[in-house]
């Protein structure tokens, strides 16, 4: 039974009075010890995570160690860590929620070998605090006492090491009990993990930054920033509307001056503010960092400022502020930070010369983050000397005192060299908080095997429970050529009653990935497969993604199917069936072949391996069957699509995807004229399946289903689109998705197809992103998907590469068993958990998109870097002006898919002018900006005007930067379209060039590495470690398609 004790607490009330509070404290004879050595596992009730048994000792960190060195304890190499409850509470109360949540996640993480022992609730471990004993002493005493108990509990079989920072404790307890050692943390690392270099470095840097901070707080110099207000005041202020809560967004191009607070939540409804709030200058930003949730106070109206619309160059932004800013907007200052969103930052050390100018204190160094939006960080490290030479380094921010201009941080680890491909890719990953360690052995050993000696088979139990479609249905898949991970297959057949049956069969990933298994946890953390320009990081191990879950042709596979019974003529849905099935895909077609079959061109059958071994007669019969199925599918898809179009589905992806598909075919030397209808057919079937699954799970679990919403856009964001279209004489009606789709179709300049493409991409930019959400968290009207014009939508069809689909699969299967009145075996996520998960997945998707974009830019820069822009033919290209700024224009280069700024006024104040041969030169003069044109007039009286959608010739060069990523620089060299001498080249498209570009860059990097023979080995290892394909791969091609397409809408199609 429980034993009751009483604890007396003295608390201070808000009014400053002390209050004596008596709280109960219950002790129990046994709490879970989570050790495999436990003599009475039944009594301890050890469910859940256990410590591994292959450790030589257990480590028990003291409270101080947990508070200060948690980052080191997070290393997966450290095993057998027992966190005492006392220590956890010390973190919770003294270090705040952020660090405590880190600790909680660490404990929850099945991959990390650490547990929590609730020592304060164990009757033999609990020690009441004695009168006059300091909190710190008591905590250390409790932890030591618990450590001793734990050692005896495991029957003295496993030595226990308590690591502490308290010298007295080491003295006092060091030799008190045999088998329980008390040593300092540094000592522990030295003696047990001498090889773990990263941990040692991290430890040193933490130690140093702590010492610095202590010194600093003693100094207490004059304040640089006003203090933040206490949280209660902020909360009250937000409620009363005095302060405004929002997320701080720093303007990338003017990181020193401009930041915006994006309104968030309830505060925007009450106040009549519509736009963001401008935070001008570092002082007003008051130590908040990009991404923090802040509370801001509005300044009086006469202090409001306008945002600058001029193009700024990152290095001389303040000086170039001669232009008159636009009209004033609400301006404010930050009064407090509600939630800090600090992450790991990639930084670069200053070069040697800069260090000297930084002055006397060589221990403290100001480093420059890779991300422009993050202020410089002051770190103290002894490795500065070694790291100065061009390394990218990860640091963390520790604190930002009001007395300090810059935040304090500490060094964490080295990523790689500047301008080295691997180093730069690692930078992109860290900056997007993507961690891609290879799958561990523990994770892999749970995976099924499929080797020639030990082939994977359909198990008899599953055969009994699943519907067997192997004999009855003609199932086939249509994918890009060479695709490895086939998520989806299709089938169609006529039923006995004359109706049609359409089936979509999706790989049954959840069969192999049990909830909360190692693989599941890992997949959840990754949330999606990451595609970078030259490689990909899979969400699931390849045994699943490319083999057992992939619905390849001619083999038995598990699937989750949705089957509709459709009316034979009207294609109305009569019935729908969901369930687990076994299928054997008969044909693994690729798009082009399917299109040829559809068009009645049977010459392609030579390309289809399934037909090879058949004799003429059966081949003919099979072919007819397949052609009928594809034809029928297309017919159904047309109907479904037409129905959706009537509701106003947007075809934003239309032109662009088509362009790219053309391009893709260029790669295959096919050069067709029109886009393939098969693509749409497959996409439409997937949308249909997603839609029906969304309806099903929402009906079964109205409060905890995962759906995808696409909120309607704000009309004001469309103003730029409308104005641009007006410049070309088109009118765009943005009132609803239907009118928008129609007017976009009409806005087509026959002489210049790029205009329509640009308009469509502007329309996409104006729209908000589609997001996952939990149905319990918002009202039913908000479920709509604007782009697809569906009332409910989810992602169901790509469980191999998206975690959201795995969740939806589980929901669907639970819904099926609920229908059958069976008990739901799996633990579904509650609304709150699901909401949390959706946020995580949305975040990860965003990170995936960013990293993909950044890696493409990286490759572009590497491509152009080695070329001399003055002489090289390729660096000169045709560009289209798509936006006008006060001192320049934004240009889109269709050939490379690059968007960028070109200045009409350079740093010396000279403006561009074009001579009679249309060559441009810099002349003194002035610029005049109109709504859709910009005129540059020189002092000599010549003038040149640039209109929206004008074609110009630009020279592409790379602006190298040491601390940040290199950027592409555009320079207008002529106001006439670029004439390409070689006509063949003009037909080549960006995609082809881009994939070539990636290949070329990769190749040159490899060559460089081969030259340095020392390095070769490590790089090879890395390639093996990540198991990534080099150079041009299928994923690369796929990604190119997605890249230029409107990102999110194309995702929705499950392509």
């Amino acid at each position: 039974m429980l034993q009751k004790r009483e604890k007396v607490l003295l608390l201070r009330t808000f009014h400053g009075r002390t209050l004596r509070i008596v709280r109960e404290h219950y002790l129990r004879p046994s709490v879970p010890c989570h050790s495999p050595l436990c003599p009475q596992p039944a009594a301890c009730r050890n469910d859940g995570k256990l410590l591994t048994s292959d450790v030589t000792h257990y480590v028990i960190p003291d409270w101080k160690v947990v508070q200060d060195y948690l980052e080191i304890l997070e290393f997966p190499e450290l095993k057998g860590i027992i966190f005492m409850q006392t220590a956890c509470q010390a973190v919770q109360h003294q270090r705040g929620r952020r660090q405590y949540n880190k600790l909680r996640n660490l404990l929850k993480d099945a991959r990390h070998d650490s547990i929590l022992f609730a020592n304060e609730f164990q009757q033999h471990c609990y020690l009441p605090r004695e009168r006059g004993e300091s909190m710190e002493k008591w905590q250390t005493r409790s932890i030591y006492n618990a450590a001793v108990w734990y050692y005896h509990h495991c029957q003295d079989r496993m030595p226990v090491i308590m690591v502490t920072e308290d010298e007295e404790a080491i003295q006092q307890y060091g030799s008190e009990t045999e088998g329980v050692f008390v040593i300092s943390f540094k000592n522990y690392l030295d003696s047990f993990w001498p090889d773990l270099k990263a941990a040692h470095e991290l430890c040193d840097s933490i130690l140093q930054s702590r010492r610095e901070r202590e010194n600093e707080s003693q100094e207490s110099r004059g304040k640089e920033y006003p203090e933040h207000l206490p949280l209660e005041v902020l909360e009250a202020g937000i409620k009363s509307g005095r302060y405004i809560q929002g997320i701080l967004n720093v303007n990338k191009h003017r990181a020193q001056m401009e930041a915006f607070v994006r309104l968030q939540g309830a505060s925007s409804k009450d106040s009549d503010l519509v736009s963001d709030i401008l935070i001008h200058g570092m002082k007003a930003r008051n130590r908040s960092i990009h991404g923090d949730v802040v509370a801001a106070e509005l300044l009086p109206k006469d202090e409001w400022k306008g945002r600058t619309t001029a193009l700024g160059e990152s290095d001389n932004e303040d000086k170039a502020s001669g232009e008159s800013p636009s009209e004033p907007m609400p301006t404010g200052r930050v009064v407090g930070i509600l939630q800090k969103n600090w992450r790991d930052y990639v930084v670069t050390f200053p070069s040697k010369e800069e260090v000297q100018s930084q002055g006397k204190n060589a221990q403290k160094i100001l480093v420059t983050p890779w991300d422009y939006r993050i202020p410089k960080i002051r770190i103290s490290t002894q490795q500065a000397e070694a790291l100065q030479v061009d390394f990218r380094v990860v640091v963390r921010i520790d604190s930002w005192e009001s007395t300090s201009v810059y935040p304090n941080g500490h060094f964490v680890r080295v990523l790689g060299k500047i301008r080295d491909l691997e180093g730069e890719i690692a930078t992109i990953l860290v900056e997007n908080s993507i961690s891609v360690v290879p799958f561990s052995e523990a994770q892999m050993c749970k995976m099924p095997v499929n080797t020639p000696e030990n082939p994977w088979k359909v198990s008899p139990e599953e055969e009994r429970e699943r519907k067997d479609l192997r004999k009855t249905h003609l199932v086939f898949s249509i994918d890009p050529k060479g695709c490895e991970d086939v998520d989806d297959t299709l089938s169609v057949r006529t039923l006995n009653n004359g109706n049609l049956e359409l089936g979509v069969h999706i790989a049954d990933v959840t069969h192999f990935v049990a909830p909360n298994s190692y693989i599941d946890t890992e997949a959840r953390t990754r949330a999606t497969t990451y595609y970078l320009a030259d490689r990909r990081y899979d969400m699931l191990p390849s045994i699943l993604s490319a083999d057992l879950c992939s619905l390849l042709g001619g083999v038995d596979r598990y699937a989750v199917s949705v089957m509709w019974e459709l009316d034979a003529t009207s294609y109305e849905v009569k019935k729908v069936w969901y369930g687990r099935t076994i299928i054997r895909s008969t044909y693994k077609l690729f798009y082009e072949a399917a299109q040829e079959l559809l068009d009645g061109n049977f010459s392609v059958i030579e390309d289809i391996p399934e037909f090879k071994d058949l004799d003429e007669k059966s081949r003919q019969a099979k072919l007819e069957e397949l052609v009928w199925a594809i034809g029928k599918l297309t017919d159904i898809a047309r109907h479904v699509r037409a129905k959706r179009d009537r509701c106003g589905a947007l075809e934003l992806e239309g032109v662009e995807v088509r362009v790219q598909l053309d391009e893709q075919k260029n790669i295959h030397d096919l050069i067709p004229k029109e886009p393939l209808e098969v693509h749409e057919t497959v996409a439409e079937c997937m949308i249909l399946a997603n839609h029906w699954v969304a309806k099903k799970i929402w009906e079964s679990f109205p409060h905890q289903a995962l759906l995808r919403q696409h909120p309607p856009p704000h009309q004001e964001f469309f103003s730029e689109l409308r104005e641009c279209a007006k410049a070309k004489g088109f009118s765009i009606d943005t009132r609803s998705n239907k009118t928008l789709a129609e007017s976009l179709d009409k806005a087509n300049d026959p002489s210049d197809p790029i205009v329509n493409r640009l308009l469509r991409s502007m329309a996409t930019q104006a729209m908000s992103n589609a997001l996952y959400f939990s149905t319990g968290s918002c009202a039913e009207e908000e479920f709509r998907h604007y782009g697809l014009a569906l009332d409910k939508y989810t992602h169901f069809t790509s469980p191999i590469r998206r975690y959201s689909d795995i969740v939806v699969h589980r929901l669907l299967l639970a819904a099926i068993s609920k229908d059958k009145k069976m008990e739901i075996k799996e633990n579904l996520f509650s609304n709150k958990e699901l909401e949390e998960l959706c946020r995580h997945i949305n975040n990860r998707n965003r990170a995936a998109q960013h990293s993909q974009k950044q890696s493409t830019e990286l490759f572009q820069c590497m491509y152009f870097k080695d070329r001399d822009p003055e002489t090289e033919e390729r660096c000169i290209s045709d560009g289209v002006i798509y936006s006008i700024r006060t001192n320049g224009v934004l240009v889109f280069i269709p050939r490379f898919g690059i968007k960028g700024a070109a200045y009409l006024k350079n740093k010396d104040g000279l403006v561009i002018s074009c001579g009679p041969d249309s060559r441009s030169e810099w002349q003194p003069g002035s610029l005049q900006r109109f709504q859709n044109k910009i005129t540059s007039t020189t002092t000599r009286g010549d003038s040149v005007t640039f209109h929206l959608f004008d074609h110009v010739t630009v020279r592409i060069s790379v602006q190298a930067s040491r601390c940040h990523s290199d950027t592409i620089r555009l320079e207008i060299i002529s106001n006439k379209p670029y004439m390409i001498p070689n006509t063949e080249l003009s037909h080549q498209n960006p995609l082809l060039l881009k994939s070539e570009l990636v290949k070329e860059v990769t190749k040159s990097v490899e060559e460089a590495q081969l030259a340095q023979e020392v390095k070769v080995e490590t790089i090879q290892e890395e390639y093996q470690e990540y198991c990534q394909t080099k150079g041009r791969s299928l994923y690369l091609l796929l990604e190119e398609i997605k890249d230029l397409a409107l990102l999110d809408v194309s995702n929705d199609y499950g392509v």
């Binding site: 008596v22 109960e24 002790l27 909680r104 929590l116 609730f121």
Partner: protein
């Protein structure tokens, strides 16, 4: 608010109990000789004293007498020193009136009032220390006191509170848990029949969660019943020994 973690990831509450566990309950019957019935209960640090007089003739205005059953009169008060901050609590304030009414409803449902027409039963409850779940403690103390007075009842009335934190129902809330401001439900149960004598909740709780919370409160009330039953038996045994002498 930094906020206390009411339910840790390991399933412990602030005071070390698990979600369904009660606080320590100690009770005594017959603490005052001059009253007809009396009892004292401690539920954790919540301490309450109940005294019962009656059934006796109607005091005061005769008009209040009921022709077919007894009148149950309940009065609740709480000591100045019952909470952390000393605070004078005048008689007849809103809170104690409400509590008195709730007690009255509870006991009208449990006492066989039709056996004593035109008479009155007085139940006085005083809370000496309040640490969460005062209503439950008052009901449990009053049950014992009514039994001590020998007034016939249908069954024990056992009460317990329950709350809802992070998707889990917590039984028998302490003051810390109540103060956190989550939904809180008070339930008085007639354990043998499973009938509910009183159910009260004054916070918002999603309909889907009501069932588990109700279930937790009912289970806790049954546990309370086991304990109270033990106390009554012990008391009767002691009393019979005394009488035997």
């Amino acid at each position: 608010m930094a906020g206390l973690e009411l339910l840790s990831d390991q399933g412990y509450r602030v005071d070390g109990r698990r979600a369904g566990e009660l606080r320590k309950i100690q009770a005594r019957m017959g603490v005052f000789a001059q009253a007809d019935g009396s009892a004292y209960i401690e539920q954790g640090n919540t301490k309450a004293l109940a005294v019962v007089y009656g059934p006796h003739e109607i005091r005061g205005s005769r008009a209040r007498a009921l022709p077919d059953r007894a009148l149950v009169n309940c009065q609740y008060s709480s000591a100045t020193f019952s909470t952390g901050e000393r605070k004078r609590r005048p008689h007849g304030d809103r809170k104690s009136c409400e509590m008195g009414l709730q007690l009255r409803q509870t006991f009208e449902a449990a006492i066989l009032t039709q056996l004593h027409p035109r008479s009155q039963i007085d139940i006085y409850v005083q809370v000496l220390q309040a640490d969460g779940g005062t209503y439950a403690a008052c009901v449990n103390a009053a049950t014992l006191a009514v039994m001590d007075a020998g007034i016939p009842m249908r069954d024990f009335v056992c009460a317990c509170s329950a709350g809802f934190v992070d998707g889990t129902a917590l039984a028998d809330l302490s003051h810390v848990e109540e103060a956190a401001g989550g939904p809180q439900l008070a339930l008085a149960l007639l354990p043998a029949s499973g009938q509910i004598a009183l159910l009260e909740m004054d916070a918002r709780l999603h309909e889907d969660h009501l069932e588990p919370v109700l279930e937790a409160a009912a289970r806790a009330a049954r546990d309370v019943h086991t304990l109270l039953d033990r106390v009554v038996r012990q008391h009767v045994r002691e009393a019979s020994v005394l009488l035997g002498d």
